[in-house]
């Protein structure tokens, strides 16, 4: 046990090492060696993380290097508090006047659970990627990036202070930029990468302000309940009672700024726009970003700093509202998308909204529980969709249409209208995907049911409006997931006559040419293939999607409330009414989805049943409420005009002023020069020729030998200085 506690710091170091080795040594030329190196080190990290989780759940802790057993934490009703951490290791990182900022790791139940979840999902994603990226020329670089990404997430999970948390958080921002823009030849990927980085950075700078606000108020930013830690109860009381800006208490101000970071990173409304575009990255990246790492980071941030939120209910109200709104808002958009990954992306937004809303109503355990189950089943769904896309791209019908345009081929391959009947063609993918689908839809006993039910229960107990909003969102989740699942796996395969994606960035003639091709060519075969490495990852994740609910069953007895007790929090009891209702909602949603889409899309060109009934609504949802366009027209345009305005100010006002002053000075200098030269030097006898001479002198002056002017100015200054010192001064 002591081994795992003492060497917890190795967990983020191993993937970091993998990333460094791949980047810096010749191994990067060996694609498979790089891939297996990263995957192997990830597996070792997983073992360490699981060992650490076992040690932590056993109540073991390190105190000054000694292994001790912590007393079981009994949370009192009322105030939220973290239990005593199991490992804290710190060192001085930066001196700050008469104090110093310490850095280190801080491991408690929450961190240990996060580490285990991240390592497991990330290992599966690594494994999957070996198959998925096998054909890609930059495979080594891909593994170096996802290893760095995972390292940052792991480091963030065990950070002992908000600065380290933020640093790891930003490294993830960098990795998301690199991975979303991985296929950088595509203009759309480059744009999406910048969009993701900048949109999340807007949230990040708010978080940064929250951190420095807290630093200024608390004099430190280290986690911990003891004096000097930011969860020290008297400190929290003071922060909640003193009023800062805008009539908010310090606690609310700090918490809301921190929440700004969550809104960016976890893609909550109104900063959600980057996440669907992030689908430009290779599919395993989507799984990594949407399940295990980046978006989970935002929720974990609120969970990690929860006592600050709990200190003032104002901030929790905002959190609950944003979360519930995003959950519903994103679910409606997901109803009307055709891109398989985009549906999952909006589903992620919606599920993150559930977690954020759960935190907002005080359901800390429910939110963290859902964070973990969602990570497993959403990683599964994304990788499953990757397997589907991978297979679709290989289809001769699609390859033929887009013979040179890889990007367009991929977009066509991702369209669920072009799928259908894949149940028999990709059986492993079908069964694992179905497990993920049922978990997401919230069917008992799959993982998602238990965690979502716990969220709904907390909302039901504390905030009925949030409960109702989330229930509608849960209903829509079942509908859109059934629509997707049905259209992908059932009915006839429609890919022989697909809806063809027209690439706006490609030469115009291309797509049309492809279209003709496929009308004249009907006898192409189908080649379906599932990669065993990809299947292995799917099976592991599917087993978690089925069973992860068992980590925190709402019953007393063996296995019950395991996570709640690991985290030292009060356990929720099953409420048959809420549980029954949420199951009913899910079943009705599935039934409706099946009913609506059972006969839809006989061919890929058909109209969506929802579009047939409510074309206006469908168009709005399909266009994602036109928020991207709105931002482009307002914020985008404002930014551009501000940039122009500043330059105009520089050029037309300040520079004019400077040039004018320069001219004025030289004008003076010229007058001075003429007077000196003609009156004093040339003397009165040369007055006649002096006029001529002045002209010559002035011309000489005006020819613009800058050095000359400067020598005059400088010698003038020196003369003035000497004059001051020796004549006036004496």
């Amino acid at each position: 046990m002591a081994f795992f506690l003492q060497n917890a710091w190795l967990i983020p170091l191993l993937p970091l090492l993998a990333s460094a080795i791949i980047t810096l040594t010749p191994i990067r030329r060996q694609a498979m060696a790089s891939a297996w190196l990263a995957t192997g080190l990830m597996m070792v990290a997983t073992v360490l993380a699981l060992g650490l989780l076992a040690a932590v759940s056993g109540g073991w802790a390190l105190h000054h290097g000694e292994l001790v057993q912590l007393a079981a934490h009994h949370s009192e009703h009322g105030a939220f508090a973290f239990p005593e951490p199991n490992v804290v290791q710190r060192f001085v990182w930066a001196p700050t006047g008469d104090t110093a900022l310490q850095m280190g790791i801080y491991i408690d139940g929450a961190a240990a659970a996060m580490l285990a979840m991240v390592t497991i999902t990330s290992t599966c994603i690594h494994l999957f990627s070996i198959g998925y990226m096998a054909a890609h020329p930059r495979q080594s670089r891909f593994f170096s990036f996802i290893a760095l990404f995972t390292a940052a997430m792991l480091l963030m999970s065990m950070a002992d202070n908000l600065l380290l948390f933020f640093m790891a958080w930003e490294i993830m921002g960098l990795c998301s930029y690199l991975l979303i823009g991985f296929l950088y030849e595509r203009p759309s990927a480059a744009r999406a990468a910048v969009k993701a980085f900048i949109t999340t950075r807007i949230g990040d700078v708010l978080l940064l302000l929250g951190i420095v606000y807290l630093y200024a108020q608390a004099g430190g930013i280290s986690f911990g309940n003891e004096e000097g830690g930011i969860f020290h109860p008297p400190l929290l009381e003071r922060l909640a009672s003193e009023t800062g800006a805008l009539g908010l208490s310090h606690a609310a101000g700090i918490a809301l700024l921190i929440f700004g970071g969550t809104v960016g990173k976890s893609a909550q409304f109104p900063l959600h726009v980057w996440l669907p575009d992030a689908m430009e990255g290779p599919t395993p990246v989507s799984a990594l970003i949407h399940a295990a790492t980046m978006v989970a980071a935002g929720v974990f941030l609120v969970a990690r700093t929860f006592p600050l939120f709990a200190a003032d209910p104002t901030s929790l109200g905002v959190v609950a509202f944003i979360g519930a709104f995003t959950a519903l808002f994103a679910a409606t958009i997901a109803l009307a998308q055709f891109d398989i990954k985009r549906i999952l992306a909006y589903s992620t937004l919606s599920q993150l909204g559930f977690m954020v809303a759960a935190l907002g109503v005080g359901g800390w355990v429910a939110a963290m529980f859902h964070l973990i189950t969602h990570a497993f089943f959403k990683a599964l769904l994304f990788l499953g969709s990757g397997s589907i896309i991978h297979a679709m791209e290989q289809q001769p019908s699609i390859q033929r249409i887009h013979h040179h345009d890889e990007y367009a081929a991929q977009q066509t391959a991702q369209d669920i209208r072009n799928m259908g009947g894949l149940r028999t063609r990709l059986p492993w993918t079908f069964w694992t995907y179905t497990a993920g689908y049922l978990a997401l839809a919230g069917i008992v006993p799959f993982a998602g049911f238990w965690s979502k039910d716990e969220i709904l229960l907390d909302a039901f107990k504390h905030n009925l409006a949030v409960y109702l909003t989330l229930s509608v969102a849960a209903f829509l989740t079942a509908v859109y997931m059934t629509r997707q699942w049905w259209l992908v796996f059932f009915g006839e395969y429609r890919g022989a006559h697909p809806v063809v994606f027209e690439n706006p960035d490609a030469p115009a003639s291309h797509a049309g040419h492809g279209h003709e091709d496929h009308h004249h060519d009907h006898d192409h075969g189908e080649h379906w293939h599932e990669d065993p490495r990809m299947i292995a990852a799917l099976v592991v994740l599917a087993s978690f999607a089925v069973t992860a609910g068992a980590f925190n069953l709402p019953f007393d007895g063996p296995g019950g409330h395991w996570l709640a007790s690991l985290w030292g929090q009060e356990a929720a009891k099953l409420n048959p009414l809420v549980a029954g209702l949420s199951l009913l909602i899910a079943l009705v949603g599935i039934a409706l989805g099946w009913y609506g889409y059972r006969n839809a899309f006989a061919t890929a060109m058909d109209t969506d049943p929802l579009a047939a009934r409510a074309p206006g609504l469908f168009a709005v949802l399909n266009a994602k409420y036109r928020i991207d366009e709105l931002y482009a027209a307002t914020i985008g345009r404002l930014t551009t005009s501000l940039a122009t305005a500043w330059s105009l100010l520089d050029r037309s006002v300040i520079d004019r002023l400077v040039d004018g002053m320069g001219r004025f000075t030289f004008g003076l200098g010229k007058v001075n020069f003429i007077i000196d030269d003609t009156l004093l030097n040339d003397g009165p006898d040369g007055l006649a020729s002096g006029t001529q001479g002045t002209g010559r002198q002035a011309r000489r002056l005006q020819t613009g030998k800058a050095q000359d002017y400067l020598i005059y100015v400088f010698s003038g200054l020196l003369a003035l200085a000497v004059f001051w010192l020796y004549v006036i001064g004496r």
């Binding site: 001196p95 700050t96 640093m167 930003e170 030849e185 900048i198 930014t639 520089d650």
Partner: protein, 554 residues
Amino acid sequence: MNLPEYLLPAADGVPWLTLLVLSPLAGIALIGLAWLLKLDERTIKTGVLAWTGVPLLLAGLIWVRFDPNAVASGQAVVQLVERVPWIQAIRVDYFLGVDGLSMPLVLLTAVMTPVAVIASWGVSARVRAHLALLLLLEAAMLGYFVALDFFFFFIFWEFSLVPAFFLIQNWGREQRRYAAFKFFVYTMAGSLGMLLLFQLIYLSVRQAGYPTFDLIALGRLGQGLPVAGVEGNLRDILFAYLEQLGVTNALGRYPLLYSSIAMWAIFIAFAIKLAVWPFHTWLPDAYAEGPTAASILLSAVMSKMGAYGMLRLLLPFTPDAAQYFAPALAALAVIGVVAGAFGALNQVNGDIKRLIGYTSINHMGYVMLAIAGAAAAGEAGVAARASAINGALVQMVAHGLSTGALFYLAGALYERTGRWELSGLGGLRASAPAFAGVMGIALFANLGLPGLAGFVGEFFIFRGAWATLPFFTALAVIGLVVTALALLLMFQRIFLGPATGNPRAIADLRPQEFWTTAPILLLSLLIGVYPAPLMALGNAAAGQLVAIFTRVLG
């Protein structure tokens, strides 16, 4: 010469700082010798590059001898002091020394000069003169950072302009004459007020019976710390002199008025060098039009002379006025932050060097914000205020490293593409992956990515400035987002997308280029991951410097 306890000569008696300042000048003599011997240009370039190792080595030796934690009678101990009477009539001493404020900048100067020399490898016209001017500039900047008597301080200050001016004017681009001229006039005009102020200060302290140009002694007087041989603080001494002249009858008997005039005189001189808004418009021209080596040295080191001057003169000499006007200074800083960021954004289809130049305005705005934040009135204690100064020092070093690397790479890119405009480039990453990677790291270092040095500087600046000036600090984060956008779009224009630009492919990073940028970026990484060694250099000095601002002054 008897030195007070806060001045400490070198234990081994070696005039390290004099050697440091003279070593680049000796390099110039060697260039002259090489010219007599008619050595070819390549040999001279290599020789000069090797010779820049000498100041670097000396700076390293000085660093080893420097004790950052030494504190005595209310200030950080100035070390390796050399002090010789120079002009007895006006009590000028040859007075050199380093403390925590100058040590990081001395190191930065010594590190960046070799980079500038390598960046001038492609220069073919008048190579010897070019290299000699670089060494001259290095000597002037080193001298400026270690000189502690106003006479020498000002001479080095003004003198650094000369090589910079000629570098821009003779080896720059099309608009070089205008740029060089603007640069020179701006800076010269700015120092006028400071020069006159020092005449006045000298006459005042002479009146008080302690004629001196000693910056340390004057700084102590300004902060009200005891100085042997004179009573009172600088503000009262100045006021007494003006009263005797009768100025106070005309303008009013407000001591703060006169220290404010003094503060603004100092501020304008240094604000121009630091390119604080609205004294910044020389910068994009000078950086963009100058040759690569000049852009590197100007942006990486020379702009820091302004910030250093504020720390050395403005804060200690006129703390009351600095505290009183801190919100105004912060407002200028924030306008500069925003102006620089949007100025850079406006160049994403324009000139790459101009874009980098504007980001420098943005970054120096943070430094200005830190200085204002450290001085501003408020409840904040030493920890917050010292963090601001520490942050500013780290930011200066970090910006020097990252901007130096960016300018260097921009120059290398120009050698390949023959164009400075960003429009018309694209997709070069495919042909030059290592080039793109290194430039990407320099760019992320510049935009303050955690793990690289720039973030450390920015974080501690924000941490310190928030404690006293939360409103301005909150506004300043706009710059973080917009600068990042500008730099990422710059990267996108050059490297990403399909390779449809002109040219379609370029040569990848050459070993020489890699070995130039890798050490600076590695330094940036080391500072970013573990900043304690660098921050410890200035921490004691910063803590002592800001102690006075925890009181209400004025």
